[in-house]
């Protein structure tokens, strides 16, 4: 999946977190120029524009992206309650909107629905971190294009961790979220699988999974 365009740069951390947790790749832009400069080869997958702090800049960006031959869609606008009046006569600039303060679940539901309506599928299928890529459709993981031969549980653990970069998880949480407790190993199982994953990731990338002393594990660095 190509990244979503996100405005402003940097976006509110809550938005960044919601997109990351939902597995949507994204790039932040500050204005129309950087949007053009950073545009991926196959175009943006869509846009999420937050208008509450810099409404002038936000609407200018909307216009530049929507008033052209190939309209950028889907286009989700985030506005505060007091800005609702500003939406009048600007209906063509967005496909849907969401009120600020945002609720992550609502934002995700709206995005999902927009993608479905514009026929771009319902789910992003890749989790990417650096040169590590997980294809959720085919269950394959690769580093720099070289496939990793993972067992099912190793794959599930890596998927969970890499979908939540920077977040610290306790062993108990990982066990319940990844294993569902249906396992002989108990909580130490997590340590065992982390070691196995590190062994398979190889020396250079073994440190992607950090041990957080007396807490649990963290994958990579947070982006928010």
């Amino acid at each position: 999946m190509e990244p979503l365009l996100v405005f402003p740069d940097p976006p509110p951390s809550e938005l960044a977190e919601t997109l990351d947790l939902g597995g949507y790749p994204w790039k932040a832009v500050g204005d129309a120029d950087s949007a053009a400069r950073l545009q991926p080869d196959d175009g943006w997958a869509g846009a999420v524009v937050v208008a509450d702090r810099d409404s002038e800049g936000a609407f200018a960006l909307c216009r530049s992206l929507r008033k052209r031959e190939v309209v950028l869609e889907p286009f989700l606008l985030l506005v505060s309650g007091s800005q609702l009046a500003d939406l009048e006569l600007r209906e063509d600039l967005f496909d849907d909107f969401c009120l600020i303060p945002m609720r992550p679940r609502e934002l995700e539901a709206r995005l999902k629905h927009l993608f479905w309506r514009t026929g771009q599928g319902t789910r992003p299928e890749l989790v990417e971190y650096g040169d590590l890529v997980l294809n959720l459709e085919t269950y394959q993981a690769a580093i720099a294009g070289k496939p990793l031969d993972l067992t099912y549980m190793e794959y599930e653990l890596l998927k969970f961790l890499s979908s939540h970069p920077g977040k610290v998880f306790t062993r108990e949480t990982l066990l319940s979220r990844v294993w569902g407790y249906d396992y002989y190993g108990g909580a130490r199982t997590v340590d065992v699988h982390v070691r196995r994953l590190r062994a398979k990731l190889g020396d250079d990338r073994a440190t992607l999974i950090h041990t957080v002393r007396s807490v649990g594990y963290r994958f990579g660095e947070a982006r928010w």
């Binding site: 269950y139 394959q140 099912y152 065992v192 196995r196 994953l197 062994a199």
Partner: protein, 444 residues
Amino acid sequence: MERQQDYVMRTVEERGVRFVQLWFADVLGTPKAFSITPAELETALEEGMTFDGSAIEGFSRVQESDVLAKPDPKTFQILPLRDSKAPVARVFCDLINLDGTPFEGDPRNVLRRALERAREKGFSFYAAPEVEFFYFADADPAHAPVPLDHGSYFELSVADLTTELRKETVLILEEMGVPVEYSQHEDSPSQHEIDLRHTDALTMADTVMTLRLMVKEIARERGVYATFMPKPIAGVQGSGMHTHFSLFEGDVNAFHDPGDEHGLSKVGKGFIAGLLRHAPEITAVTNQWVNSYKRLVVGYEAPVYVAWARNNRSVVVNVPHSKRNKSDSTRIEYRAPDPACNPYLAFAMILAAGLEGIEEGYELPPETQANLYELTAEELLAEGIRPLPGNLTEAIAAMEGSELAAATLGEHVFEWFIRNKRAEWADYKTQVSQFELDRYLPRL
């Protein structure tokens, strides 16, 4: 469950796997496998693959010989073989009867049952073995084993070969997700050791099977022979599989008690007491060959006596010093097993003996202070220290009277095992050894 199967199916498709090897162990721990094509895989995952068990050691039964091998999708793993054009994958199987019940002859099932019992008590059981083995020039029994790294002057390059082999094996194991604690050259010529980091006992038993196969396969590719025979050369140390064990309750090491002088909890002490009391009964399983008892002799760092101590190599249960504030590392080391045991059955018996000690509240005998190798028979008797069985027939006799062994192994495995081992001893008794010829022929 379905997702795991889906994972296996998709991986086979995406990676172009041509064959999937279904792995399992017979009652003696010999690896068995048959290959299926990806087309057969879905059926195998859902229903299992039928095969005739009567040809497998310990699987034969009176009425019914067909058994199903049902892949455990959690263990699906592409083998890191050099020929990547047609990847081959392996998956460990549970064996089940045609009616879907677990097959009573399946060692993996024996261990599953023992682990289930531990889980009912809230325990998960961890194992970390140190596997020793020898590299020899070949497996020809017509001549004495030829070590590869001592004996003549030009052997420097050959010495490198066995170390190379071991290193290559460790790399391949790591690629397969088997974390190696460390590996080293052992005391005896051509002897090496690979220490594994702890995992739950079922995964570890699978891993020991994998390790033995990989060590042997990589040696074979280089035109030499690797063996896990417990005592291939007289006069030097044999190969053991000292294994570190611990029980966890959730995140907490159940063996650890910071208030105790040894750092050992009541659970830990009960486990040791159980192991000590039942050690003679489980030895036929942890040391299952005639040759196993050639290793368990005084003077070669192998355990001979049923006693426990901290950092003492002459006893069967050793309690390694664990680092302060590292409660997780509190564990016990059982030094009897050799690497030619069936790891599923051995871990199941050790766990059962330890649990028995915990449940029945066995008293832990005092720690042994002396080097037991140096004590006389009278001194040992005075200390109340028993020896381990001295040979296979003693071990079988001890096992035969053991309710613990019968309950843990289940009737099928228990009876077959004793019958098989009696037959082995009977064969051995008919032999005239080199020792006898050397000693008696000139004199008598």
